[in-house]
């Protein structure tokens, strides 16, 4: 678990609560709804269960290897019952494309409305843009009408929110840069605007996008941007619906803030809508079957793998895992995905998965996976890169031996007194009883003072 990669990942993590700091905190809800309940990330190739719940195709298929029920309502569920949801797929994809823009734009508007009291024309948003914009307008109006101290409160909440995140940022890393930047640019744009003359005075049409702009702005910035940004703007589906008058407003914001509110160069292609219309199930490719490995010879297994052009290296268990994972990737890709990738890409993903899971190789049987791993790789680091297991073993050999002895005694003790618990969770029994000295005192200090989960695993391995 190298921490560097963790930090990289952390910077990519988005959260529905990002919207709490914008003018429309209600967007948190839709941001949450578009996420998978298993991975908590945006739905990737969403599939629908008969009970009406939606998950990422790979997440739910992975889970169904363990439990044949819906994670949300616990209703019975099988892989064959899953139906892909092209519509949701496209909704999530198109939302994902505008999310950052949405976030930036909305927090910009907020800093405008809280920062500037006098020049209301700056903040007023166009009418009839969409419900989102209407909402903005309302809230910005509210801000003008409120008393000073209420305004202060608004500023306070803005400042407080990032503060409350500091705790985790110590552990992880700051990752809210986009928002900070956007608010800065919001302020910057404010300053610019304060200097610029009323933009309604001299309007001229841009020869490229044929929309009205203040001459000044048109000459200095817009022409260049309009020429270079065309491609970016095609994604902004809603901006071409802006009524003419409102364009002045958005153009002003554009002078220093992101380009997304620029009027688009031409009619945006409804990429996701068209893809949805064209979607159809792939009848041509068949489902990859689950195999019964117990009745299979190594030769047959290898033949199966090579028929799929998969590597035939590694142990039997590794090959089985490889096939199982590939089967999942295959079925998810060809049965659920709206745009299936080719087999080469699937094999590349399989290789990726194998390289990141080479340690915990037996996913299908999770019980005792840790101890099996330790047996197989006794000298390898278990949880952290720095952990020296041998050193640990040598240093604590006496204690380990005593723990094993006490674990055995403790097992008998708890069998007689606590049979139920014994069946309930042998994992805990082993772990806990082993470190017990006085049966009435919880052996907590060991883990409280040294919360090293190696204690979990190493003691577990003594059991086998």
């Amino acid at each position: 678990m190298p921490r560097r990669t963790n930090l990289e990942e952390i910077t990519n993590v988005s959260d529905p609560r990002d919207f709490l700091q914008t003018t429309i905190p209600e967007l948190t809800d839709i941001d949450t709804l578009l996420r998978c309940h298993i991975c908590k990330d945006f739905l990737k190739t969403p599939v629908l269960t008969p009970c009406g719940h939606t998950f990422c195709s790979l997440c739910i298929r992975e889970y169904l290897k363990r439990e044949l029920k819906c994670p949300l309502c616990l209703a019975e569920l099988r892989e064959s019952m899953l139906k892909s949801e092209y519509l949701v797929n496209e909704i999530v994809a198109s939302y994902g494309e505008v999310r950052t823009k949405l976030l930036e734009t909305l927090s910009v508007v907020r800093s405008l409305s809280t920062g500037d009291h006098n020049d209301s024309s700056l903040i007023e948003l166009p009418d009839g843009r969409n419900s989102v914009a209407t909402h903005n307008k309302n809230s910005s109006h509210k801000h003008f009408d409120v008393e000073d101290d209420e305004d202060l409160q608004i500023i306070e909440t803005r400042d407080n929110l990032p503060l409350s995140k500091r705790g985790i940022q110590d552990i992880t890393t700051a990752h809210k840069k986009p928002r900070k930047d956007s608010s800065k640019s919001g302020i910057a744009s404010l300053l610019n605007k304060a200097k610029s003359p009323d933009p309604r005075q001299d309007l001229a049409n841009c020869p490229i996008c044929v929309k009205s702009f203040p001459v000044d702005f048109l000459q200095r910035t817009h022409l260049d941007e309009c020429l270079s940004v065309g491609a970016v703007d095609m994604e902004t589906a809603d901006s071409n619906n802006l009524p003419q008058e409102s364009i002045v407003q958005s153009a002003k914001i554009d002078s220093s803030v992101p380009r997304q509110s620029l009027p688009s160069l031409e009619t945006p292609t409804n990429l996701h809508f068209n893809r949805y219309l064209e979607s159809s199930s792939n009848a041509s490719v068949t489902r990859l079957a689950k195999l019964n490995f117990s009745s299979m010879s190594l030769q047959q297994l290898k033949a199966k793998l090579s028929a799929l052009k998969l590597p035939t290296t590694g142990s039997r268990q590794q090959m089985i895992n490889r096939y199982n994972h590939y089967e999942m990737l295959w079925n998810s890709n060809y049965l659920d995905a709206i745009n299936p990738v080719d087999e080469r890409e699937l094999r590349r993903r399989l290789a990726n998965w194998e390289s990141s899971h080479n340690c915990a190789s037996d996913l299908t049987q999770n019980a005792g996976a840790i101890s099996r791993y330790l047996n197989k790789n006794p000298m390898k680091d278990f949880r952290t890169d720095k952990f020296d297991r041998r050193g640990w073993m040598l240093a604590h050999r006496r204690i380990f031996r005593r723990l094993i002895k006490e674990a055995k005694d403790g097992l008998q003790y708890s069998e007689s007194t606590d049979k139920r618990a014994e069946e309930h969770n042998s994992y805990d029994t082993c772990h806990n009883d082993s470190s017990i000295k006085d049966p009435d005192v919880i052996p907590s200090n060991q883990l409280v003072t040294k919360p090293n989960p190696v204690a979990f695993s190493s003691q577990k391995s003594t059991e086998t």
Partner: protein, 151 residues
Amino acid sequence: MASLPKRIIKETERLVSDPVPGITAIPHEENLRYFQVTVEGPEQSPYENGVFNLELFLPDDYPMEAPKVRFLTKIYHPNIDRLGRICLDVLKNNWSPALQIRTVLLSVQALLASPNPNDPLANDVAEEWLQNEDNAIAKAREWTNMYASKQ
């Protein structure tokens, strides 16, 4: 071992930045899958005013597999045995990947509010609870003061 899934990072961030009232969960700096947890005893329960230490560990297969949770503070409760193991459906058979650390810890707190002696883990405690509830509650309160008092 597999790298830390985004989901764990996300949950951790949320736990620290937006904690559940009465519950804290702090990841260990060496191992982000291990959490030191404190749960305040619910009001109007025998565990009121107590702060209980727990440990929580996210196995490799989390969220496909339930987190491992255990009380470190001694507690007198029919569903928590003397080793701190917890008899809670969501930690065992009723685990679902749609649940998360937050919900699990809330369930633990709810278990403190409503002990269930009919599905016991600590048999002696459960027996006492069924036969002489007042006595059992008094003892639970006493243990809370003794082992879980805020300092």
